[in-house]
């Protein structure tokens, strides 16, 4: 019974930590080359 309670507590804590990371976490790698340039259209 004690072991079951510990397992449930561990799963709960893991879930809470995962939810916090999921909501507040940052991710992604910015492009390492290239960039935005204003589009110039040929005169119509």
């Amino acid at each position: 019974m004690k072991m079951l309670r510990r397992a449930i507590a561990a799963i709960t804590l893991t879930g809470i930590a995962a939810a916090i990371l999921r909501i507040r976490g940052k991710g992604g790698v910015p492009p390492e080359r290239g960039g935005w340039r204003e589009l110039t259209r040929p005169p119509s």
Binding site: I23, G27, R33, G34, R37
Partner: protein
Amino acid sequence: MSVAVVGLGVVGARVARQLTSSSIPVLVHDRRPDVQEVTAQALKARPIDSAIDVRPDETSVVVLAMPSRQSSLTRRLVERGVSVVCTSDDVDDVRDLLELDAVARANGVSIVVGAAASPGLSGLLVAELASRVDVIDEIHVGVHGTGGPACARQHHRALAGDAPGWHDGQWITRPGGSGRELLWFPEPIGSRDCYRAELADPLTLQRAFPSATRISARVSATRRDRLTARLPMMSPPHAEGGLGGVRVEIRGSRGGERRTEVAGTAERTGIISGAVACAAAASVLSSALPTGVVVLGSADLPNGAILDDVIKRGITIFEYVGSGA
């Protein structure tokens, strides 16, 4: 000939202002009498009691910018012989509007479906990029930000709805909020996590670019947005909306070589939508558009001239360069 603007919220008020600044006579209508009165006085526009009361002999175009569904009013206006520019981004509404082609042709008028930021500017950007490839295989749209409160509610619903997509020649639906992809928008927006959502862009883009085999649209959202998408909105939407953006990526080939082209803009969503709707209305007014249902980006439209008009109205368009794509 004058243009009537129905719905004077964030988008409608900007359309009316842009039109009056182009010396086009404007009629305005809003279900809120105080808003209608104030806008009419500020812009020296003529208020009208009902949207359906426009006279075809003096008003040839009506711009619909109200938050409710636009298809039924569009049908009534078209049957009276008036062209309509629709700003709706509701998927079901856009589907209904696209089915009005026969009615519009029978009455010799145009219906511009999706003349806003997304859909709207997205189609113009795809048409601009299309000239750089021989064949377009894929079109992927990313949208960030919202216009007025109605747009914010639509954004909230979109993440919980079914996201339509065109995949290898057939329509598919995926759950809104799925398919996370990190997309880079022009600065100052930068990188945003974007998810599939119930957006109308694939519907209009598939019509404009039938050769594309894959078309998808994603909207930027936080993980909190995704988690709460199926709940009522926790806080009231912002009255004006913030900085928004549209990003279009096309994949195709040129001379047998694979190419990816990206373009976008970063501006308040209401300003983008207002500029696109105004440019579309001016185009209808000058008889530059064919009769029937038209979507921006279609091959039979003067897309370059419309995009030039949008740029002239203060929207800066960017292209992504130097990535080696």
